[in-house]
């Protein structure tokens, strides 16, 4: 009895100490937990899904349409080197090279959710690289101009006249591209469609009755 009582008393007395010891041991255990790398940005699985999808590409025609309609949510970013940017770029584009990705002043253009950012370069490569980094970090609203400036010049600035056998849509697209080209500063030259002017409707004019000259008379 006395022994039991003693051990109970001991337990009651040392209860706090035992609890503290357990917690202390647990805290020590945390040190032993293997190092766990936390993902920076999105998960690899999601990264692959986004990267394989072609949703990020925007066609030159769609971009031209949006620029002409003065879409306020459009932000063009030129990812080519500075000297190329200075020679020529799309209207109102901002120059952000891949190496400036984390530049404090420029990163704000990429990491935001107000504008639709259209990345472009000579072809897709540089723009795609910037997009991929943005994708990793979960940036939204980033798009890539499909084919880049090369495609822009092939389609908008210098479109090819469609073959006679092509569907009507091809001709409509050609007309759109020609018109868009003019908006971007291509000289107004006679287009072939204008040469092939539609047969004019014959206007049948009813012979007007000549007004009789008021004859002087008495």
């Amino acid at each position: 009895m006395s022994k039991r009582y003693k051990s109970k008393k001991f337990l009651v007395k040392t209860r706090y100490m035992i609890l503290a010891a357990i917690l202390f041991l647990l805290a020590l255990g945390l040190v032993l937990i293997p190092k766990y790398n936390k993902n920076e940005g999105i998960k690899p699985e999601l990264f692959v899904i986004n990267a394989i999808s072609s949703e990020r590409y925007i066609s030159t025609d769609l971009l031209a349409d949006r620029i002409i309609n003065q879409d306020p949510a459009l932000l063009l970013i030129d990812t080519r080197p500075e000297n190329e940017f200075n020679e020529f770029s799309l209207p109102n584009a901002v120059n952000i090279e891949l190496k400036d990705f984390f530049d404090k002043a420029l990163n704000g253009y990429l990491n935001q959710d107000v504008y639709d950012v259209i990345l472009f370069s000579n072809d897709n490569f540089y723009a795609d690289e910037v997009w991929m980094l943005g994708n990793r970090l979960g940036y939204k609203n980033l798009f890539v101009l499909k084919g880049g400036l090369n495609e822009w010049f092939n389609t908008i600035i210098d479109p090819k006249y469609p073959d006679e056998t092509m569907p009507r849509e091809a001709f409509e697209l050609y007309d759109f591209r020609k018109a868009a080209g003019m908006y971007f500063g291509v000289g107004i030259t006679q287009t072939q469609t204008e040469e092939k002017s539609k047969p004019k409707k014959k206007v049948v004019t009813a012979p007007k009755n000549k007004k009789k000259v008021p004859e002087g008379g008495c």
Partner: protein
């Protein structure tokens, strides 16, 4: 009595605390894939661009030291591929089988050379694998096509402008200015205002 109640409460809360920790440990699921490289490292490597090979570079390498991987779809691969290439389509690249294969290559010190339909596709694969920690990956900067029952591979120049953009724009603009000049150079013909014939007025 009060003292006893207090100790009871403390021990109950301590047990609950331990339980929460235990549940946390048991339900913790270790993600299968974790990016080992952060974006800063990746960006540095991307700027260096020393992972891009051309066909000529490939010929100079010892063929026992690398494995070529085709990241196009199985269908495209079946139609034609580079000799000795293994197909690991980019949709399946995170499968356990593919990862085991890639791990084997990495552990044996073999470098991995990726190619796809164009350099952009190969670059996607490179970026994924590099960030996952495979630093033995390179890409082949080629375009592949299947034309006339032939599989063709050719070097693809990266980011080469097909036009001199500024010049093209200037010439296009000059078309316009020439037109304007032409218009201006027309001699102005001064036409003397024709006298209107007066309508003979009726008079009395």
């Amino acid at each position: 009595m009060k003292e006893l109640e207090r100790t009871k409460r403390i021990s109950i809360s301590a047990v609950l605390f331990l339980l929460v920790i235990l549940i946390g440990f048991l339900t913790f699921e270790k993600p299968q894939f974790v990016f080992e490289k952060n974006t800063g490292n990746t960006l540095e490597q991307m700027i260096k661009k020393d992972y891009i090979l051309s066909l000529e570079n490939l010929e100079t390498l010892d063929s026992l030291r690398y494995a070529i991987i085709d990241i196009r779809s199985n269908f495209e691969y079946a139609k034609g591929h580079i000799k000795g290439a293994v197909n690991l389509s980019s949709d399946d690249i995170l499968n356990t089988k593919s990862i085991e294969f890639l791990d084997d290559l990495k552990n044996s010190g073999t470098s991995i050379i990726l190619y796809g339909k164009n350099p952009d596709n190969a670059n996607t694969g490179w970026l994924l694998l590099y960030q996952l920690g495979y630093d033995n990956v390179k890409i082949l900067c080629v375009e592949t096509e299947y034309i006339d029952k032939n599989f063709r591979v050719k070097n693809a120049p990266l980011e080469r402008p097909k036009f001199n953009f500024a010049e093209v724009m200037a010439s296009k603009k000059s078309d316009q200015s020439e037109d304007v000049v032409k218009e201006e150079s027309k001699k102005k013909v001064i036409t003397s205002p024709k006298k209107k014939k007066k309508i003979p007025e009726g008079g009395c």
